[in-house]
């Protein structure tokens, strides 16, 4: 096993061990922190497919995170108030079932990514970054001025949504759901990177003119990558809203987009476990430093500067060295 595989295994082991310890030591807050880290990791794994594989610097991934959050909020809101979402042309009711909510979150954010991609992929570089940022801000202000679903105050859900056979109100059970989803998505990401699509997408990131010369469309490859990426971040958004039993426009904020990107830079761009390590480190720092000093983000900024200047490959790069050429 190479060093990166060892590192990844260690990260997974910690994600199992820490909450298990917390359960035994009766520290539910630690489990909540771990859940937060896992959900952030999932959101960042989504972005890493666009950013790491496709080279798409999307600074608007909060859009998908927020859409996932509101998919949960809106469906659960209608279910708990016994009002249908719509009656015409067919009856569409709310739901408290997690799998249905996830499906809605994934579909809605994938659709958003498709539309945003069609409009933004014609641009490159700093223009692409600005356009994705602009879409994030549009979504933010749209939800603020949408009173039907709480406007600025957001939506609260009284009881966490349900999953067949589990009691999601027990922190460790909800954590288990989130960790399982993260593992499934990491597995998908791993396979994707080795697949024909992953190969073509990686080439489209590095030399688009080569991809065209072999008869493939780099733009379409990137569009599909953005859709997959948005769908995953949307799923994370639904879980995040469920963790807090609350969703508000801040899920759409540019700070949220920035945080998702910071997880990846901290952990290592394009590395399978980069987003996971980065999100875990971020939540840990937030907890430890946030307790000491309310301006803890200054320290985060310093850590980030250090990584960008010296670490290059982030935490994974620090531990496992430069990325191996794939076999």
């Amino acid at each position: 096993m190479n060093r990166e595989a060892l590192f990844n295994t260690a990260v997974l082991a910690l994600l199992v061990a820490v909450p298990t310890w917390a359960l035994w030591a009766d520290e539910p807050f630690t489990i909540t922190l771990a859940t937060r880290a896992v959900i952030f990791a999932l959101a960042a794994v989504g972005l890493n497919i666009a950013l790491g594989l496709g080279g798409l610097v999307s600074l608007g991934h909060a859009v998908y995170f927020g859409i996932g959050g509101y998919a949960m909020g809106i469906l659960a809101h209608h279910a708990q108030s016994y009002t249908p979402l719509m009656e015409w042309p067919f009856l569409f009711e709310g739901t408290k079932s997690m799998p249905v909510i996830w499906l809605a979150a994934v579909l809605a954010s994938a659709l958003a990514a498709l539309l945003i991609g069609l409009l933004s992929l014609r641009t490159a570089g700093v223009y692409f970054i600005m356009i994705t940022l602009a879409f994030g801000q549009m979504a933010y202000f749209f939800t603020i001025s949408w009173p039907a679903y709480g406007g600025e105050d957001g939506l609260s859900i009284y009881v966490r949504n349900g999953f067949p056979g589990l009691n999601t109100l027990v922190p460790i059970q909800f954590y288990g759901i989130c960790l399982a989803l993260l593992c499934v998505v990491l597995w998908l990401n791993w396979r994707l990177a080795k697949s024909p699509f992953g190969l073509a997408l990686g080439a489209a990131r590095q030399v688009p003119q080569r991809v065209e010369t072999v008869g493939l469309d780099p733009m379409r490859l990137k569009l599909v990558a953005l859709v997959i990426s948005g769908a995953i971040t949307g799923l994370a958004g639904a879980l995040f809203a469920d963790l807090n039993r609350f969703v508000s426009p801040t899920m759409f904020s540019w700070q949220m987009s920035g945080e998702i990107m910071i997880f990846i830079i901290l952990g290592g761009v394009g590395r399978l476990f980069g987003p996971v390590a980065g999100a875990a480190l971020y939540v840990l720092l937030e907890h430890l430093l946030g307790g000491i000093n309310e301006h803890w983000q200054i320290f985060l900024g310093a850590a980030l500067l250090f990584v960008v200047l010296f670490g290059r490959g982030g935490l994974v790069g620090l531990v496992a060295g430069r990325e191996q050429a794939h076999d």
């Binding site: 190969l199 003119q209 991809v211 065209e212 493939l216």
Partner: protein, 249 residues
Amino acid sequence: MTEPVLAARGLTKSFGALRACDEVSVDLRPGEIHAIIGPNGAGKSTLIAQICGALAPDSGTVHFLGRDVTRETTRTRARMGLGRTFQISALAMQDTVLQNVLLGALGRAGRPWQFLRPVLRDSTLRDRAEAALARTGLTEMAATRTADLSHGQRRQLEVAVALTLEPRAFVMDEPMAGLGAEGSKRLTGFLDELRAEAPILLVEHDMDAVFALADRISVLVYGRVIATGTVEEIRGDREVQIAYLGETP
């Protein structure tokens, strides 16, 4: 006379006041190597870019396999069987050598929409890719990161990727550049055999290679074709000698 596989007619392209290509017409017949020579900045790469679809000409047409492809994208021309190599290597530097040829095989097969099956397990693609490496002498380097290749090996890989496309016509922009005497000689031998598979439009500065390989030569100077003919005709052409071969009248 046989129908040309590839024909450029009156291609004109200006960059501001500079006329990089001026009414350029060249064609490529089955089984031949047609060399394009000319001094630096003559417009050779600009011509190639228009033929392959990377640059839109201001006027003129490109016909490939009897079809007018002037308005078609690079992608469409590639799928029809136009195999291009770049003057400045355009390779995925972070990927391995094998992955670069696999990309070509993937393009040839036209199915990048597989998301979960490892590309290495597709034996059709892999066989095609490995065959191209074997033919260009890169088999040993398959697992090497492309960025770690020598300049000459990158030139070979350029040709290998074009081979995976099994093109109907090759368009090569200075494949010998920087290869060294030994490398040029090997590639010359290889291209000599390759023309039986598909004709080659060959831009090249290496005169030994050009005189050894070319069935016909076109001389491009300041964006204009000043002569087209066989090796003997071009060697004996006064105008060419003055303009290009560096001989005083």
